[in-house]
């Protein structure tokens, strides 16, 4: 259950094709788990993350929104993130 900062979990998303893969959006960024939440790793997604979602048609495509409205996208399941807005 390690790997996450001690703070509010603002957003949460699951890969619908592999429900062990989860993402959370937090003030410290976007974190990813590959074991249904037991352990987590930072993804390099944006800080002040308010929400995160997985595209069900392309599960490697993950979007995150910051509290102030910036939108980021990863096309490799959180490996690399690019700002789209």
């Amino acid at each position: 259950m390690g790997g996450l900062p001690t703070s509010t979990v603002n957003g949460f998303a699951v890969d619908p094709t592999n429900t062990k893969v989860m993402y959370v959006a937090m003030r410290d960024g976007v974190f990813r788990s590959e074991n249904a939440g037991r352990t987590w790793s930072p993804t390099g997604g944006p800080a002040n993350a308010a929400a995160v979602t997985v595209n069900p048609m392309r599960p490697g495509e993950v979007y995150a929104a910051t509290t102030d409205g910036a939108i980021w996208r990863s096309t490799d399941a959180g490996g690399r993130w690019d700002a789209v807005r």
Binding site: T6, A51, I71
Partner: protein, 203 residues
């Protein structure tokens, strides 16, 4: 079957309250896109082509991967404070929005029209909405005001019944996850001010 309020919300991660993230209004955003102010929710619908964003200033949709956004009109011409969005897992045009002041709103035509879906809900401040990926007629809603708690609908939001107190701490997001509990249900995950929690959904 547990009694109401006896849900077992195991703390997976997190804990402890920290200061909220900044709520700065957007500055210098694209001219065509209104400011969101504080973002609460983001989902991709079942078709994979539309992003939906819930914010303090309303509900917004992007059809170009998040580059530009258009405000979605909601009942009464109000710009509801949209706290949570649940997308139907197989019907791209069916979505639910949980709001701070008007309960649950439902659309079955990709946001052209919305109908209230509040019968049986104990309040109108909805901070979490989860749709069961296996049985999409089943939803859970986390209500914060009046008869606060966790509510369940088994008829696509037509009626709701209170089933649990919900997780400790302010709920930020709720999701049904297709991981079998071994008791006939699946797990309900909640992102809260006190970390990430999960509970079997057989309340």
């Amino acid at each position: 079957m547990k009694r109401i309020g006896a849900g077992y919300w195991a703390l997976l991660v997190g804990g402890g309250l920290l200061a909220a993230a900044p709520h700065a209004a957007l500055a210098g955003s694209a001219a065509a896109t209104p400011a969101f102010e504080h973002v609460h929710a983001l989902v991709v619908d079942a078709g994979g082509a539309n992003l939906w964003l819930g914010a303090h200033t309303g509900l917004f949709r992007s059809q170009d991967g998040g580059r530009s956004w258009a405000r979605v009109a909601m009942p009464g011409g109000h710009h509801h404070d949209v706290m949570t969005i649940a997308a139907h897992p197989s019907q791209p045009e069916t979505l639910y929005a949980g709001t701070h002041e008007a309960g649950v709103l439902k659309t079955m035509n990709a946001g052209k029209t919305w109908t209230p879906a509040n019968t049986g809900l104990g309040g109108v401040d909805v901070h979490g909405l989860a749709i069961d990926p296996n049985t999409p007629a089943k939803l859970h809603a986390l209500v914060r005001d009046r008869r606060a708690g966790l509510y369940r609908s088994t008829d696509m939001g037509a009626t709701w019944v209170r089933v649990d107190d919900g997780p400790p701490g302010e709920t930020k997001v709720l999701a049904s996850v297709n991981i079998p509990t071994g008791m006939g249900g699946i797990f309900l995950y909640a992102g809260t001010a006190e970390g990430l929690r999960a509970s079997p959904d057989c309340f």
